[in-house]
Subunit: 197 residues, 2 copies
DNA sequence: TCCGTAATCGAACACTGTGTTTCGTTTCTT
DNA sequence: AAGAAACGAAACACAGTGTTCGATTACGGA
């Protein structure tokens, strides 16, 4: 790991700006947050902000990248430990979301920007398409595409519902109910036993 | 019907503005459309715009209301004809969307504002909740709520996928596949045969 | 500890897009 | 034909964004 040792001031400033934005999103919603609000909350000068980020979106995106990095790191770690044991990916994701629920709520919840939800959607969709392909599912192209969107969208929107409502049930319960809802239909349409497992 | 006879100029202006906005949304996306673009396209003066609408959102909302009105009218008409025969609501909706697909794409598609999709979501959610209630489904509250969101979100997102991709299959095919996907799971979780029908 | 360097502040600035106002002109209704 | 209503054009105030620059402060290596 090549840690480009950063100036303490830089760290402090970026941290303060990111936290301020997350807080403000949860309070007033992404669109209503003005740059000036962020500066006041973080106690940072205007020119300093633009020295680090091109705009509000870049600031949030940097936090998103940071999150993705942390997630992948955690994923590698867990995979390393439980080598051999089959890892349940969706449930693993849910547990991670539970752990960082504030951030997820700000990024992907009702008050988020919507743009980030669609980024995540695109990311997950690619993933789901690969899984379908790896299971050798053969369907008319439009059907395969619809199923991929169905799985992606269902998982994502249930996840967003979950965090937006402050997680009214455990990750396990959510996962269990979700599987009971979608597995029978998928089994029927795809003629397979289970995906992911 | 009390038609408040409108000045021809008013009709022409409002029509031109609404059409211009829809066109521009499909071309560059809602957020990228500036008032000035609308004015240029519709060939309408700035002050005239603000004499009719408070802002861009109000303009689109007026078109949405208009659409809702037309839909309800059509719904009443069809219900009147086929009285006695059971009406399949979801399929009916899909056929209507197919008929006005351009408008739906602009309002609810990728390039739309996102705000309108969530309006529609809220509307459909209320509907689905009522259906669940009328079927006397008894589940832990969070489960009932999750199922309601699941049904709503699935229907809505498949619909959006459909119009965004220029309807790669017929309304009937979409409906058929969607039902095959969700009915088995719902039957299992809700212990009922079929909803809507 | 000291010094060069880099980050920060703050204030002023230009710019873009929104919404308002006014007034002269056009076009509808009766 | 006449009064009323809608329209267009231009000027305006305003809010929020992003830039610039010189003075100040804090950091990290020697």
């Amino acid at each position: 790991m090549v840690e480009a040792k950063q100036d303490r001031r830089v760290q402090k400033t970026q941290q303060a700006l990111q936290n301020a934005l997350i807080e403000l999103i949860l309070e007033k919603g992404y669109d209503a947050v003005m740059i000036q609000d962020i500066l006041d909350r973080a106690n940072v000068g205007r020119s300093t902000f633009y020295a680090h980020y091109t705009d509000k979106e870049a600031l949030l995106m940097s936090r998103l990248d940071q999150l993705r990095g942390a997630f992948e790191e955690h994923f590698q770690a867990v995979q390393g430990i439980s080598s051999g044991v089959q890892l349940n990916l969706p449930l693993f994701v849910l547990r991670y979301v539970e752990h960082e629920h504030q951030l997820f709520k700000a990024l992907f919840g009702k008050r988020g920007s919507g743009k980030y939800t669609s980024h995540l959607h695109t990311f997950l969709l690619k993933f789901v398409r690969d899984i379908l392909k790896s299971y050798g599912v053969h369907l008319p192209t439009y059907e395969r595409e619809l199923v991929a969107h169905y799985i992606t969208q269902t998982f994502l929107s249930m996840l967003v519902w979950w965090v937006d409502n402050n997680m009214p049930c455990s990750a396990e319960d959510l996962y269990g109910l979700l599987m009971r809802l979608i597995e029978p239909g998928l089994k029927d349409v795809l003629h397979t036993s289970t995906l992911w497992a």
